[in-house]
Symmetry: C2
Subunit: 274 residues, 2 copies
């Protein structure tokens, strides 16, 4: 059975969809996207994702040809046609054809749905290992399609024995390439970066949960030197909710699973999805 996507203003089989070779996205890497999880055919937190999608587009001066309502209708139509109850939905704005190869004139919408494993019912017990790297994404508050460094650094990351990269910019911890980062201080405060990174929807939900459940948290600059003092650390994303971090630059971070902030927050995140 064909998988359908939205491209060139129509729903069509994904193997018939292509971005023109003259598109600014292809020739100049100019595009933005957002990615949301679908569970039991429900697009989770779609309003938050659309808020961010339109915000990214606005900063990059990419006018979205469809309205918010039209995008939601296309998402529903794909969900209906594709019959992938657990999946990821990628909304993308390509820079479009530019007669001079440089000027934004015809941005266009692409939507792709692909199967995605449902996150585990409870927080995973195993944690991952992070390696820190000094790098700032270009225009970090925007979810651009620029993952040049993230992909280029994969072999380096593996050499460090790490599963993911934690960016810091001149010592200020910001984010992982596809997730936000949180740590718990020795004083039991949950800390995450306040600026110069992409504000994830799961990050936002976690901060809401903290406020509602009297969990102390701070959004602030986080120096890379503080990582060694972390009692607990985890990364968050729409795809995985929370993944515990058990090692940063070789330094062990291993809280008691059942008493962890991550475990408590994970269960509350699951509730939020209903």
């Amino acid at each position: 059975m064909s998988v359908f996507c939205f491209s060139n203003n129509q729903i069509k089989p994904i193997n018939e969809a292509g971005v023109p070779v003259t598109d600014l996205l292809v020739q100049r890497g100019y595009g933005i996207f957002d990615f949301l999880r679908v569970a039991k055919d429900k697009p989770l937190f779609i309003e938050d994702h659309l808020d961010r999608f339109f915000h990214s587009a606005s900063i990059m001066r990419l006018s979205i040809p469809q309205t918010r309502e039209q995008i939601k209708e296309i998402v529903q139509e794909l969900i209906h046609k594709n019959k992938m109850p657990y999946s990821g939905m990628r909304l993308l704005i390509a820079g479009g054809d530019a007669p001079d190869g440089y000027t934004i004139e015809h941005p266009h919408l692409i939507i792709i749905q692909a199967p995605l494993a449902e996150p585990t019912a409870q927080l995973p017990e195993t944690g991952i290992s992070l390696a820190t790297y000094n790098y700032a994404r270009q225009i970090p508050e925007v979810k651009t399609t620029d993952y040049l460094m993230a992909i280029w650094l994969q072999p380096w990351m593996k050499e460090q024995g790490a599963d993911d990269i934690l960016y810091h910019h001149n010592g200020n911890v910001t984010e992982c390439p596809r997730s936000n980062f949180f740590m718990v201080t020795k004083d039991n405060v949950l800390v995450t970066a306040a600026k110069n990174m992409l504000k994830g929807v799961t990050r936002k939900n976690i901060l809401t949960i903290c406020a509602q459940h009297q969990i102390p948290f701070e959004e602030r600059d986080l120096n890379v030197s503080e990582l060694a003092t972390a009692k607990e650390a985890f990364i968050t994303s729409s795809t995985k909710r929370i993944i515990p971090v058990h090692k940063i630059d070789g330094h062990l971070v291993k809280p008691d699973y059942h008493a962890s902030f991550a475990k408590k927050i994970y269960d509350l995140l699951v509730e939020m999805e209903h």
Copy 2:
């Protein structure tokens, strides 16, 4: 009449060519390219461009499926079929389909030919205006498809009354988004950046000309503060050869056209193309 390109391992009409929406180039901005000028059906300095193309691919860990000879044959076939004696030829390697959306597995070659005005027979008399901006391209020695900042900065550039942007990184002048930069010091030495930028083929040809014609030149760090003392400045590219620069950040730079370094070098560049 159709314009032909090379895509998906075949020569095909450009309006039938598309990059899959699942390609790493589309989803993650992962690709490299090179661009050469065709004059009277001759691909100019193709060996230099192929050297750089394979170098870019190697650094980005993109294996090129075609051999150097095969690429030259495809270029010749496009020249034969398209009948565009004056044109630009864009060679591009897309990251390709990645089952996990992240790992480079199937990079592929795209070649696009498009009409291009022949540069003027002599150096243009009118010059352009540059605005300096603190920015370093990611992996600057590689011709990646990443022009996110260059395109994003276009409105800012126009606000400055400038025609192009001159990047410096923390005070060290590097390059323009699509060209190299040269200035002449008060001691009549031609200076261009030595590192942290893309080494253009025209830049290389100019340095060869300088060596052959006893024109004093230096490849070295060039501080942004030196720009105010320039007796002459110009930018260089395969498309335009040389364009004089008459203003940098509002500061006038206007040499005697006939006595300029640019005029002399331009005439020698034209000779090199024969």
